[in-house]
Assembly symmetry: C2
Amino acid sequence: MRKVEICFSPELIHLHSLQGKIVVVVDIFRATSTMVAALANGISEIRTFADLEDCRAMKEQGFLIAGERNGLTAPGFEMGNSPVAYLNGDYEGRKLAMTTTNGTLAISKSSEADEILIGAFPNLGATIEYLQKKDQDVLIHCAGWKGMFNLEDSLYAGALVKSLEATHEASEDGALAMKALFEKEGHDLKGFLSQASHAKRLQNHNIESDIDFCLTLDLYSIIGKVEKEVLIAIEPH
Amino acid sequence: MRKVEICFSPELIHLHSLQGKIVVVVDIFRATSTMVAALANGISEIRTFADLEDCRAMKEQGFLIAGERNGLTAPGFEMGNSPVAYLNGDYEGRKLAMTTTNGTLAISKSSEADEILIGAFPNLGATIEYLQKKDQDVLIHCAGWKGMFNLEDSLYAGALVKSLEATHEASEDGALAMKALFEKEGHDLKGFLSQASHAKRLQNHNIESDIDFCLTLDLYSIIGKVEKEVLIAIEPH
C-alpha cells in the first residue's frame, strides 16, 4: 500500500523526505484556492513571488498581476487574492503573476519532490483521482500561517487522507490525527472553521464569499501542477 | 478569559511567545509520565540530561541514574525509562538523573516561561486544578518525536484544552483542533493511540504495562514543576 503523510508547516519540512513522492501544497485561505480558481477559469500559467515588487515587475511581460497587503489589493495591482474574482471575467490564455507569503514558501521548499501539486477543496475529487492513479507516496505540505499549524490547511489534509484510505496508508501521526478530525468535523467545515484564527481574520475583511468558495467541494476537474516553477492545469486522466 | 495554546514541536517553539505564561511540557511516551511516576513515588528531585554520559556521571553524586537506548536500560544504568519501575520500589528521598532526548529539549527550550510544569495523564486533574488557580495564560509544549507532531502528546494537549475550557480560551488553531480530536477520541485513548507511530514502537518492545500506565488518568495529586532546572513535586493547592 502507498503511504500518505502530512507536514503541518514549511518550518518542519526538513524533517520529511520528499524524494520519490508527490507533494500536495495547500494554503486554503486563500492562495491555493485562488490558483485553482484562476486555472479553472482560463489562466494558462501562474508564477508565484514572495516579493511584491518582483511580482509587480511581471506586468511588463504581459502578466496579469495579483497582490494584496493587509486585506486590500496592493497599489498598482490588477487583482487581489480573491478566488471569486476569477469566476466572472475573461481570463482565457492570460498569464498570472501572484504574490503570496506562506504559499510561495511551501512551494519553494517542496522542490525535491517528484511532483508538486496545488491542493484546494474546489478540486479535491480531481486531485484524489490523480493521486490514486499514480504509484507514488503522497506528502501533504500545509503552508500554515507564519510557520504555525493552521486549521483549514490541516482539515484539507485530513480530507485528502480520508479520501485516499483505500489506496494510501496514513503513515505518521499527523495523518492519523487529521483524518480523525475530518471524520468528526468534515460535515460542517464552515461551522468548524469559523472558530479558526485565519477565518476570523478574513471575516474582518468582509470576504464571506471567498470563504464559501474556498470550502466548496469539487467545482472543477482540473489538477494544479507545478512544472519548472510554473503552475499549470492538467487533467486527472 | 485566560488563553491556552499548543506548540506541537520544539522546532516550532520560537514562533510562540513564552513570557508571562505557564508552559506545560509533555512527552507522554514516556519521559514526562516517568517523571510524574517517580516524583509521586518518593523521588525528591529530577535532573534531565540530553547526553547519556553526562547522566551517568551523576551517579558519583549519589543520584539514581535512568537511561535507555534502543528500548533497553543503558549499560551501567540502574533504571530504564519505564514509569512502572517506580511503583514498587523504595525511592523515598532519592535524587534521580534521567537522560531523555525529546523531553529534555522541550524543557530547555521553555526556559523563558514564567513557570514550567511537566504534563502526564496520571496527574492531569491536579495540573488542571493548579492552572485554574493561576492568573497566567498556558502554553502546552509537546516534545513530539524527533521534531515531528506526535499523537499522544497532542491528545494530552487536547485533553488539557478541553478541561480548561471554562477558564481558558483556545487561542489558536492547534488548540481548537486538538480539543475537537480529544472530544472524538478521548473515550478510548488506548484504542486510538494503538495506531500511533510511537505506540507501535513501544509495543515492539513489549512494554504494554508502560502504555497502560501512561494513559491512566488521575492516579496522583502532585504537580511536576521545574525550579531552576530541577524538577520537583508540588501540591496543587
